[in-house]
Amino acid sequence: MVVAFTSEEGVISMEEIRLLRFVNCGNISFAPQDGVIDVDTLEDLVAKIRSVHGVILDGDFSKETVLMAVKEIRKIPETCYLPVFCSPSLDSDSALFTDGAIKSLDQAWEKTADMWGKLNEVDRGSLELSRDFRLLAYLALRQEGLNPLLQPFTCDAYRYPIAEFLGGESETRQWLRNLRDRGLLSQGPLIDRIRSCPKCQCTHLNYIDVCPNCGSIDIVPKEFIHCFTCGRVGPVDDFLQENGYRCPFCGTHLRHLGSDYDHPLESFLCNDCGHKFIEAHVVVDCLSCQTRSDPEELLVNTIHGYRISEKGRAAARVGSIDDVYALLDRLNYVIPAYFNQLLDWMILLNRRYPDQTFSVVGVRFVNLIQVSEKLGRHRASQIVDALAERLRQLIRNTDVTTRTATGILLLLLPMTDEAGASVVGGRILELVNLAETSPKPQFQLVAFSSSQNMREGESASSLLARILGELES
């Protein structure tokens, strides 16, 4: 079976996939195979990791070794998203840090191929830029989200080890929350609710009942006795004599529970200050910083899993954490500054050689916000994605596009006169009809041609200001 797929590097066939196997001497589950490079030290692994498409940890490595190997792979931007499989002999705790156990090398091959098949979902140029892109790329290539792992001997109790490998260990939880707030991650299932010290955020807390008067922990429960004969109520100790209970007030020998006396309540006595009380006060001592707090002062943290959102996927695809317009940037895109420069050059050229015509078309998605609200961000970005794909077929290799901060698409069409521009404009407007959604996306279009609308002393910035002014009015 030859599965071929495209990536930005071109077509890679199944045979071209190379796997790196980290073996534990004498304890391997799979026989050596062509296309699988074996290494047995961490240094070799790091040295060769950039030249392979996937990694297999074969053997019953210690958890520490697994953590170190996975960490090394994830922290290098170029390899952070690589699939890392393990052999079934690895214990299940350690396997949580990998992409799971495989039954055979062929299976690893298929899974790696699957993952690389999705690689056009990821803009690999952006991986260097920030840890945000590395995490989004990692998640975009996988079904599973990011799940917290219980690590009881840490102060946080729950950690996100993969996120820590990808982004460094600082403030991981805040980082993930920030990505969620920006819409790049969505919240997964609620795993736990955990309270932490308001001072040091440690979750290792000791709930302790103390005297409400002096705060001493030296309190003892004291049972009370109610003497039926005289009606007095007092602590058991006052009644206890060497031959049983005797009421200190009326002298009655209390023999039978229920007919001579009963236990009306249980209270506490503080051995330090002698205070008697019914309900002890509960305080919380932090085992890490020894701060004492009231239970209501504790910080309540909800522990969630995280999933990549559609916006996150889009961001991973374009390498820019922006909105859906970013999808349009695949159309011979140049950055706005360069577009301006190019336009200036065209204006100057046209002045000198008036037959060197050019046109500028501005396109605005009039109702994108409404479409997005109505159909959801995911659907909206799919629509924009489809439009971008068709626009790409419309424009020529020599056309240049850019996008303004407000999401207006500008096309610079060299050697195109007014008629040509209106043909292009007409085709763009027709695109709308191809979309089968309701509400349909609406375009507003302004075309400028050097042959007609050129003013005296026109510059790129004044020209664009006119176009944008018309579109946004």
Binding site: N243, R255, H256, G258, H263
Partner: protein, 444 residues
């Protein structure tokens, strides 16, 4: 004249009777009967109580630190929430040792209320140090014996108590009952019972007096001579090794008397172990509060008694098995006193009515009544002073004493009929202590 003539004739006859020579003739015939049958027993008990009273005065209030672990088997049937009081009174014992409380709910499938009442005590008991509650639901009803033998499978204490679900205990009961076992020759301890619902009605008050005489006083007296006649089913305490020796409880009714007699069967062979009664190891039990229920209960008890003596345990009446002392006591207090006497009294009374005129009979009865009342008041006061741990409460009952001889007489007559019913009617199989399909299979 509204009052009929014969009424005055009867009054006149009664008033004249003590002075008529025929009355004295009857009385003189009656005296040897009383002297030789009843008085020795009363004297024996009185001496025993005196002995106990003297020893008690010198007793050290708190004993050495021997606190064996105790398992309390509580046989429950349809007591409902009353079982909670039993469990509570056991869990709150002033006893530093371990107490395992094992309520066995017989027929728990049908008696859901009792079962859930027992279960609901779990938290309250487990909170207390050294107290464990283990509720055993016995889904199929099988009677007291099967409940106790079931409970033995779960009991882990060195001392086993067989208790009733409607009996609650003084807070020093376990302490008092277990102290005897420090002496290795003590095999069983019979606990004392009082009436819990004493103020409920006339019949409960009369039973309170009866319990005081026949349990607290009589057993104290008998115990002083090593002659305890019965370990109450509602409150028996056993050394585990003794229960294992005799193989637990045996099928049939009156399992308390049965186990007492079976323990006694070993006395002749193992001279070293004893049954002790402690009048201060106190349980409070619920008694019938109407005459109807009372006589129904006694029909069963008295019937069980003759069933035990005549059918199941006739071989026990042998000096070789129980020793001479116990043989005589069994013959006397068991057979003569409890089975033969009622029958004799009935025949004697019937003879009086047939052979003598009504006035003479009435006069005789009045004198006999006065004799018993006088004896009873004296004994009651002596026992209260020497024995009672609640003298004030007991002295209040003195006002009801005049009714007791009549009550006892009625009881005797009823007992005679019960004995006959058992002998001719197999009354012991007609019991509510075990379902009929169980008693039917019993060997006796």
């Amino acid at each position: 004249m509204l009052i009929p003539e014969p009424f005055f004739q009867i009054i006149a006859l009664v008033l004249e009777a003590p002075l008529v020579s025929e009355t004295w003739e009857i009385i003189l015939r009656f005296i040897p009967f009383v002297l030789f049958l009843e008085m020795p027993v009363y004297l024996l008990i009185l001496m025993g109580v005196l002995r106990y009273g003297l020893l008690r005065m010198n007793e050290v209030p708190w004993r050495s630190s021997y606190y064996p672990s105790v398992s309390c088997l509580i046989t429950c049937y349809s007591e409902g929430e009353a079982v909670q009081q039993t469990i509570r009174s056991l869990s709150r014992q002033l006893y530093p040792g371990r107490i395992q409380i094992v309520p066995i709910i017989d027929g728990a499938a049908a008696n859901k209320e009792t079962y859930s009442a027992a279960l609901s005590m779990k938290d309250e008991v487990d909170r207390l140090p050294n107290r464990v509650l283990k509720v055993v639901p016995k889904w199929q009803r099988g009677g007291r014996v099967s409940a106790l033998n079931t409970g033995m499978n779960f009991a882990d204490g060195e001392i086993i108590m067989a208790l009733d679900g409607d009996t609650s205990f003084d807070n020093d009961m376990v302490e008092r009952a277990t102290r005897h076992f420090e002496n290795p020759t003590v095999g069983c301890v019979a606990g004392c019972l009082r009436v819990r619902n004493v103020r409920a009605s006339l019949v409960t008050r009369l039973q309170a007096i009866e319990y005081f005489f026949s349990i607290q006083a009589a057993k104290t007296g008998l115990s002083a001579f090593g002659l305890v006649n019965n370990i109450s089913g509602a409150f028996g305490v056993f050394r585990r090794s003794v229960l294992e020796l005799i193989g637990g409880w045996d099928a049939g009714t009156a399992e308390d008397l049965d186990i007492t007699l079976r323990v006694k069967n070993y006395l002749g062979r193992y001279h070293c172990f004893r049954i002790v009664f402690d009048p201060e190891a106190m349980g409070f039990t619920h008694v019938p509060d109407t005459f109807r229920d009372f006589f129904k209960q006694r029909l069963r008890w008295d019937g069980d008694l003759s069933f035990m003596y005549f059918r199941k345990h006739w071989r026990t009446f042998s000096p070789r098995l129980v020793g001479w002392k116990n043989f005589i006591a069994l013959l006397w207090t068991g057979l003569l006193f409890q089975v033969v006497m009622p029958v004799v009294v009935v025949i004697y009374t019937a003879y009086l009515f047939i052979a003598y005129p009504l006035g003479v009979v009435a006069g005789t009865m009045a004198l006999v009544y006065l004799f018993y009342l006088a004896a009873m008041v004296i004994l009651f006061l002596v026992f209260v002073l020497l024995l009672s741990e609640r003298p004030r409460q007991d002295l209040l009952l003195v006002f009801w004493l005049p009714l007791v001889p009549i009550f006892a007489f009625a009881n005797r007559i009823h007992g005679a009929f019960s004995a006959l019913w058992e002998i001719f009617g197999l009354g012991h199989q007609d019991t509510n202590m075990a379902p009929w399909w169980v008693t039917k299979k019993s060997k006796f």
